[in-house]
Each structure stands twice: as structure tokens, then as C-alpha cells.
């Protein structure tokens, strides 16, 4: 099932590209600020989080200027959360198509991932500027950011397959999603450093691959440290397991998805 499924997906690779371009071009058509929106969301979050968590709550930021500290984690977080909330409604949103034409259904959630990835790349330019401004000394360890982010893309894709397929059967998923993402944001070291997490719950806390990946992403870029290999290995293992399970359950549900739209 997995092999034939992936073969079909490769046959339809052009559709994934076209759907992603559709997502990007339609989103910004008739909008005044256009591409700038990809930067605006993390920028606005950075400013408000800096105001709240640095000025009011006075959270520690491991000696790094708070705006830079929070933005470095916000970029992968916004990628994850926008991709997931888009993918959740993806298949139902294209219900009309799903009922009339066959194509591998995973293309719909995956196109939201690809579009969020594109936004991430644009927003990264802003991060680069901010790093220049604060004169962050990059080390070779910064290159670890690429595989770390790669694992995050895979994990995000796996989660998007699960939630988009679940949404077809139970429309409650999209209702719950904003709440779930809000809770998950605070269970991830975005606005606070990993060190602030009490050691008695840290074991459970680190079972969340998003938390590990985002913390590692920030660590290699801003501190110039090498990532914690053991933690990354666990996160990768969880990611692979989730991906296989997500793909198999998605493909099982896919056959009759059109009946539930």
C-alpha cells in the first residue's frame, strides 16, 4: 500500500506544485499588502510577545535579546501552526473536487504545508536581518538548523494527514484546532527557554517533537551550540513512527473519503 501510494503521489507531483501555487497566488490576490503578510504575522507576534513576556512578565531569554529569542522560535512555530490549521480544513474545503475527481488526497493537506514553507522562507529573511542587527556570531553548528527544520516538515506533514482525514469524519476537529494549537504553543519553548521547564515534568515535555525541534533550532542558530543528539534521535524516532502510522491510516480512510464530504 505504501509503495503504490507513493508511486501515485510521484505521478501527481505536478498537481502538488500547482495546488501550492494556487494557494499562494489566491491568498494574496486582491490584498493590498500581498507577500508582506508572510512577514507581518511573525513580526506582529514578535512585537506583542516581547511586550508581554519580556517587559511585563520578565521571562528569561538565556541572555539573548528577547525579540531575537522569540522570533527564532516563532518562525518554525508559525510554520507548524499555520500549516496544520490550513491542512485541517483542506480536504473538506475542496470537497467538491474530492467528490468528482480522483487524485491522491494527501496532495490537499500537503499543499498547505508547502505554502507555509514558502512563507517560512520569506520570513527567514527577516530573521536574517534581525540576526545581523544584533550581531549574532554564526558558527558551523548553524547548519544543523536545516536537518532540524527538515524533521519538523516531516512531522508537520504527518500531523496534517491525521487531522485532515479526521476532519472529514468529524467536523469537530477544525473547531478544536485553534484551542489545541494555543495549548501546544505554551507546551513548546517559544516564549520561554527550555531551561525554565521544571525538571520533574521535562521528561514528558520532551516527548513533544515540536518542542525539541524548535528548541534545537534556536540553540544551533543563536547559541552556536551543537544540538542534543539524544533528544533529536528521540524526536526523529517519534516523527518516523507518526509518519508511518499517519500515512497508513490516511490511505485507509482515503478510499471512501468522498462519501463523507
Amino acid at each position: 500500500m505504501i509503495v503504490s501510494g507513493i508511486k501515485t503521489l510521484i505521478d501527481y507531483a505536478d498537481l502538488l506544485y500547482t495546488m501550492t501555487m494556487l494557494r499562494l497566488s489566491v491568498r494574496y490576490k486582491q490584498s493590498l499588502l500581498g507577500w508582506f503578510w508572510a512577514v507581518l504575522q511573525p513580526l506582529a507576534l514578535m512585537i506583542s510577545y516581547t511586550a508581554i513576556f519580556s517587559r511585563v512578565a520578565k521571562l528569561s531569554s538565556e541572555g539573548i535579546p528577547y525579540p531575537l529569542f522569540v522570533l527564532t522560535a516563532l518562525l518554525p512555530w508559525v510554520f507548524f501552526s499555520s500549516a496544520i490549521s490550513g491542512a485541517t480544513i483542506g480536504i473538506v474545503h475542496y470537497g467538491n473536487l474530492v467528490m468528482k475527481v480522483y487524485f491522491p488526497r494527501e496532495i490537499l493537506p500537503l499543499s498547505y504545508i508547502a505554502a507555509s514553507l514558502f512563507d517560512f522562507c520569506i520570513a527567514s529573511l527577516m530573521l536574517a536581518l534581525l540576526m545581523l542587527y544584533y550581531r549574532v556570531a554564526l558558527t558551523w553548528n548553524a547548519l544543523y538548523a536545516l536537518p532540524i527544520f527538515g524533521i519538523l516538515i516531516v512531522f508537520t506533514s504527518a500531523v496534517s494527514l491525521i487531522v485532515s482525514a479526521a476532519q472529514v469524519r468529524m467536523r469537530d476537529v477544525s473547531m478544536a484546532m485553534p484551542l489545541v494549537l494555543q495549548v501546544l504553543l505554551f507546551a513548546t519553548p517559544v516564549v520561554y527557554p527550555l531551561q525554565s521547564v521544571p525538571s520533574n515534568i521535562r521528561r514528558i515535555y520532551l516527548m513533544n517533537p515540536v518542542a525539541v525541534l524548535i528548541d534545537s533550532f534556536r540553540r544551533v542558530l543563536l547559541h552556536g551550540d551543537s544540538p542534543n543528539g539524544a533528544l533529536l534521535a528521540i524526536a526523529s524516532a517519534i516523527t518516523i513512527l507518526t509518519t508511518v502510522l499517519a500515512y497508513i491510516s490516511f490511505k485507509t480512510l482515503e478510499a471512501t473519503m468522498a462519501d463523507f464530504i
Partner: protein, 387 residues
């Protein structure tokens, strides 16, 4: 060698309807198994490579479900569906167009949805635009298109697919007569090139022209397969089954009267109805009470949907009906219609409202009789007068 194969296929759908504002979560868990419908029951058939097969049946007979199963849009509840080769399905022309994108962008979008690669689309894009006849509008957003342009572009993209197997569901009724001709030609081309075709249509003339074989479906069961003409006759003999009754009288009140059937009888020695010969049309009705001043009407339509002509009782002199079964006969001394298939609507009216109306409830088949050059048979006699 078969291209498509159904083995004892059944398909069940569930209904989750009837949930008001006071619908509580546990209700949906309990009621889930309650309402179900079997769209197909134990259907088996094979379609050989290079064969063109038509499927006929009334609405709700399961025709579209077969196409959805063939195109993997959904999976069977029981049984097995096997497919060999690259398959393209045209279930609804133009599904997947995005109104904000231009025609050209939509060609890429729709083409990739139908399974074409971008390079393949790029090589065909000019030809697609030309076939659809939308050269002047190709670079403006499709929300500005007329519905005709929308459908023509949709069909044009589909016509440029190069599948081994082509599934068509009611896509022939697109655009004007000239465009329909183009569509039929394109399908004939694919057929001549040895492609396998499965066609669902109410255009019975196209069915006879395009298909080697037809299948008759009724209420999810495969009734019979055979030569198209034979299947169509069988289908027409099924009469009103499944044709919805339309009425403008109060639906809550009991039905005043209804049309029960319509048949066409050749009025000469021949076995079939032929151009230039007499014909009798017989409409049977049932009245539940005494009715004054009613009128009967049989409307005949071209396959394109345009009204061809009508048989009607005179509006000025209404008929008074007694309760019970009855029959109205229309006698045509000379049938002027060209050979072909005509869609039939029947109606029973009284003063200003419709008591009963059945659309597409039957088909009139006219066989070649006297030779027609032009649009219709012109009854005439002639003599030579020498001075």
C-alpha cells in the same frame, strides 16, 4: 483482455440527515447505523479493451456510482473493481476551476487535477484554448466568464487528455450545437484510436452512435446488457418508474390526477415509428375525482434540449374528466420528424396550474421512413400540368 472489471460489487451509503439544533452528540453515535441506502447491489460486468459501453437507467439507478467506483473516487463496500491502464473520468466538466485565476492558469490547475503533467499541458495549451474558442478571454480571471465559456474550456481540457480509458458522465450536453458536434467528434476520434470508453448519458442518439454495447441499470441492479438499441427499447419500456412528479397544486392535498404512462404507436403496417407515416401518441391518466376544464400536453424535445414540437389538447375547449383511469389519444396523420431520438415530457394542466408534470419520462424513437432533406419531412403531392 479486459480493461475494467466489476466483480459482485455493492456500494452502501449512509445518511446522517435529520439533525436539528437539539441534536446531541450521543444521538449521532446511535443513529449512525440507521439510515442506509444500497446504491449498487451485486453488480458484475467487464469492459474489454477498445470497447465503448453506455450505461442507461433512470435517476438514482446507480449510474454515477459506477463511474465513481471506476474512477477510484470512492471504494466499493463489497466486491472488487479492477482497472488496467491510465484512466480519466469526466464526471463534471470544469470542477476544480478557481474563479480568481485566469483561464490560462486554470488550464494548468484543471489539467493537473485530471492527471496531466505540466509539460504535457504546456504543449497542449494553445490547442486547448483554440478548441474552447476562448482566445480573447484567456488571460482574464474566470469569474468574468460566461457559463458557456466555463463549460467549453472545461470540456476542451478534458478532450485533450490522452487516456487509455475515458469515463464520461453527462458531459455531452455542453455548449451550443456546434460545440456539441465537436465534442462528439473528439469522442469518436478517441474511439477510433482504440480507447476504451464508458458513457453515461440521457442522449440516447449519442449512445447508439458511440457505443458497441449498453447496460441497463435499475435501483442499483444490472438488469441486462446487450446491443444499444435493444437496451434502449427495454429502458423505454420501463416507463415512468423513477420519474419525479412535478405539481403546482398544494402538495399536502391529495393528488387530483396523474399521468400514468405515454406510448407511441405506429399508425401503419410497419413495426416502428417512421418519418412521414402516421403515428398515434397515447397518454394514460388516472383522476381521483371529477375534474373540469383540464388539458393534456406531450412535449417533444431535441437531444440538445430545445423544444421540437408539442401535442396538446386545445386550451379553449377544456376536457371534463370522470374519476378513474382514462386515456387520451393524439393522432398524427403524417409524422414530420427526422429520424432520431426525442425526449418526452408530459403534463396535465387545469386552468392556471399544473396538476401533474413528468419531465424526461419517455423517449420517442423515429426510424427512417420517407426521405428527409432539411429539417423536417414536408408532406406534399405533385402533378405535372402540360399546356
Amino acid at each position: 483482455m479486459f480493461d475494467l472489471k466489476f466483480q459482485n460489487v455493492s456500494k452502501r451509503y449512509f445518511f446522517t440527515g435529520g439533525s436539528g439544533p437539539w441534536h446531541l452528540p450521543w444521538h449521532s453515535l446511535r443513529s449512525r447505523q440507521k439510515s442506509e441506502i444500497w446504491a449498487l447491489r451485486n453488480v458484475s460486468f467487464e469492459v474489454e479493451e477498445g470497447e465503448a459501453v453506455g450505461i442507461v437507467g433512470h435517476n438514482g439507478a446507480g449510474k454515477s456510482t459506477i463511474l465513481k467506483l471506476l474512477s477510484s473516487i470512492t471504494a466499493p463496500t463489497l466486491g472488487e473493481v479492477s482497472i488496467r491502464g491510465r484512466l480519466s473520468a469526466l464526471v463534471e466538466v470544469g470542477s476544480g476551476f478557481h474563479p480568481e485565476l485566469t483561464g490560462r492558469e486554470n488550464i494548468y490547475l484543471n489539467g493537473s487535477i485530471l492527471g496531466m503533467r505540466r509539460s504535457e499541458i504546456a504543449s497542449k495549451v494553445e490547442s486547448i484554448i483554440e478548441f474552447a474558442g476562448v482566445q480573447d478571454h484567456i488571460d482574464i480571471a474566470m469569474k468574468k466568464y460566461s457559463s458557456g465559456m466555463y463549460l467549453r474550456l472545461g470540456f476542451s481540457i478534458a478532450a485533450h487528455l490522452d487516456p487509455d480509458i475515458l469515463l464520461l458522465d453527462e458531459v455531452l450536453a455542453v455548449g451550443d450545437a456546434a460545440f456539441q458536434g465537436k465534442c462528439l467528434n473528439r469522442i469518436s476520434e478517441l474511439r477510433a484510436a482504440g480507447r476504451t470508453i464508458v458513457l453515461i448519458t440521457h442522449d440516447l442518439a449519442a449512445l447508439v452512435r458511440l457505443c458497441d454495447r449498453a447496460m441497463l441499470l435499475d435501483s442499483g441492479k444490472l438488469i441486462m446488457t446487450g446491443p444499444p438499441r435493444k437496451i434502449i427499447d427495454e429502458y423505454l419500456a420501463m416507463g415512468f418508474a423513477g420519474v419525479e412528479s412535478l405539481t403546482t397544486t398544494d402538495p399536502a392535498s391529495e393528488k387530483l390526477a396523474e399521468c400514468r404512462g405515454v406510448s407511441f404507436i405506429p399508425g401503419h403496417s410497419g413495426e416502428s415509428i417512421q418519418t412521414g407515416y402516421p403515428m398515434t401518441a397515447r397518454l394514460t391518466y388516472f383522476a381521483s375525482r371529477r375534474l373540469a376544464n383540464v388539458g393534456f400536453k406531450i412535449s417533444l424535445y431535441w437531444p440538445s434540449g430545445y423544444l421540437c414540437s408539442e401535442l396538446a389538447t386545445s386550451a379553449a375547449s377544456g376536457i371534463n374528466l370522470s374519476p378513474g383511469l382514462g386515456m387520451v389519444e393524439f393522432y398524427c396523420p403524417v409524422l414530420p420528424f427526422q429520424p432520431g431520438w426525442y425526449r418526452v415530457d408530459v403534463a396535465l394542466e387545469s386552468n392556471e396550474y399544473v396538476i401533474d408534470k413528468r419531465q424526461c419520462c419517455a423517449t420517442l424513437r423515429v426510424d427512417p421512413g420517407k426521405v428527409v432533406l432539411g429539417d423536417f419531412y414536408f408532406e406534399h403531392t405533385w402533378q405535372v400540368i402540360e399546356k
